[in-house]
């Protein structure tokens, strides 16, 4: 994969971002998008766990919050990719970065599993204060995984 990372580093975009105030600007927007994503998705996770917003239907919370988490994810990717390209080889070999990518994949799998499997039977537990076990597990996994994404993401810069 190293030739790909080296090719990315040599892109004009990577060089420009790496040598200008675009890096801190994109990074700070990345932080706003990431914390917003985690804060917003926690609302749905806590509903799935039966901890918060129990008087509202799960489907309502999900349909209202997911467009915002999706938008935040787009902003996080659009700001994160240029940051990655500036030192692609370094980041690709950075253990914290590798763990972050793994946790993001697991968070995506958790989300897909919930939407394709657990959510199919939502009519039966949509109004329940404490949803079915599968939904509670999805909520717990989501919270743990996203906290792990923030931790491993913050750790990247501490590994030289």
């Amino acid at each position: 994969m190293d030739p790909l990372w080296e090719w990315l580093e040599l892109l004009p975009l990577a060089q420009y971002v790496g040598e200008s105030w675009w890096f801190p600007l994109l990074e700070s927007i990345h932080v706003v998008a990431a914390t917003f994503l985690v804060g917003a998705i926690a609302m749905l996770d806590l509903r799935l766990l039966g901890v918060a917003a129990t008087q509202h239907r799960v489907s309502r919370i999900a349909s209202e919050i997911l467009p915002w988490t999706a938008a935040a994810a787009v902003v996080a990717v659009v700001t994160g990719v240029p940051l990655f390209t500036t030192r692609a080889t370094h980041y690709a070999h950075n253990t914290a970065f590798q763990i972050k990518v793994l946790l993001l994949v697991l968070a995506a799998v958790n989300m897909l599993w919930f939407h394709l499997r657990t959510e199919r039977g939502i009519a039966a537990w949509d109004n329940d204060g404490t949803p079915v076990t599968g939904a509670r597990i999805a909520g717990l996994c989501s919270m743990v995984l996203w906290a792990g994404v923030l931790l491993s993401g913050r750790w990247i810069g501490h590994l030289i």
Partner: protein, 173 residues
């Protein structure tokens, strides 16, 4: 004033304690910074979402007063976590922060954000129907919500820029 305070912290037991924690416990800095980030996520998922609701952009299925009552405690509870997780770094290197202009800017913005949020909280507590009602509530409420939204996001941006101020704005020394 900030610099005098910093020189009093310099060499104190408080500083020694903070330096010990940050340098001797493996992974302590990123872990504490993640506590800070998770508390910021709580701010984003509470007051920022309430602001978006008042602006009519998000969570329209839930009444603003209901949302504010449920979510504002998350904002207030995040603050002590932000304070403790942040001050450890300040105690360890007080002079670095005392002369950093972005650090000062962050706390001016934070003070304003807290004042606006307190106002929003009090209005909701006194008159839950305020945000839904006709007339003044709409326009004034939206202005307050927009100010709150911009201020909280600006605090987070400024927080991230503290580290870059060291490079972008080199001190006179």
């Amino acid at each position: 004033m900030l610099e005098q305070l910093a020189s009093r912290i310099d060499g104190s037991a408080l500083q020694a304690g903070a330096v010990y924690l940050l340098s001797q416990i493996r992974g302590f800095p990123p872990m504490i910074q993640t506590v800070h980030l998770l508390a910021i996520a709580a701010v984003m998922g509470s007051i920022v979402l309430i602001d978006l609701r008042i602006l009519g952009l998000a969570l329209r299925g839930q009444p603003t007063s209901d949302l504010a009552r449920r979510l504002l405690p998350w904002t207030w509870w995040a603050l002590p976590f932000l304070f403790v997780s942040g001050i450890i770094f300040v105690l360890a290197r007080p002079q670095r922060y005392a002369v950093n202009p972005i650090f000062r800017l962050k706390f001016v913005l934070l003070a304003l954000a807290v004042i606006v949020t307190l106002a929003l909280h009090r209005v909701t507590a006194r008159n839950p129907a305020y945000w839904e009602g006709p007339g003044g509530g709409r326009v004034l409420g939206r202005m307050v919500a927009a100010a709150s939204l911009l201020l909280w996001v600006a605090v987070v941006l400024a927080g991230r820029w503290i580290a870059y101020a060291d490079y972008l704005l080199p001190s006179e020394e």
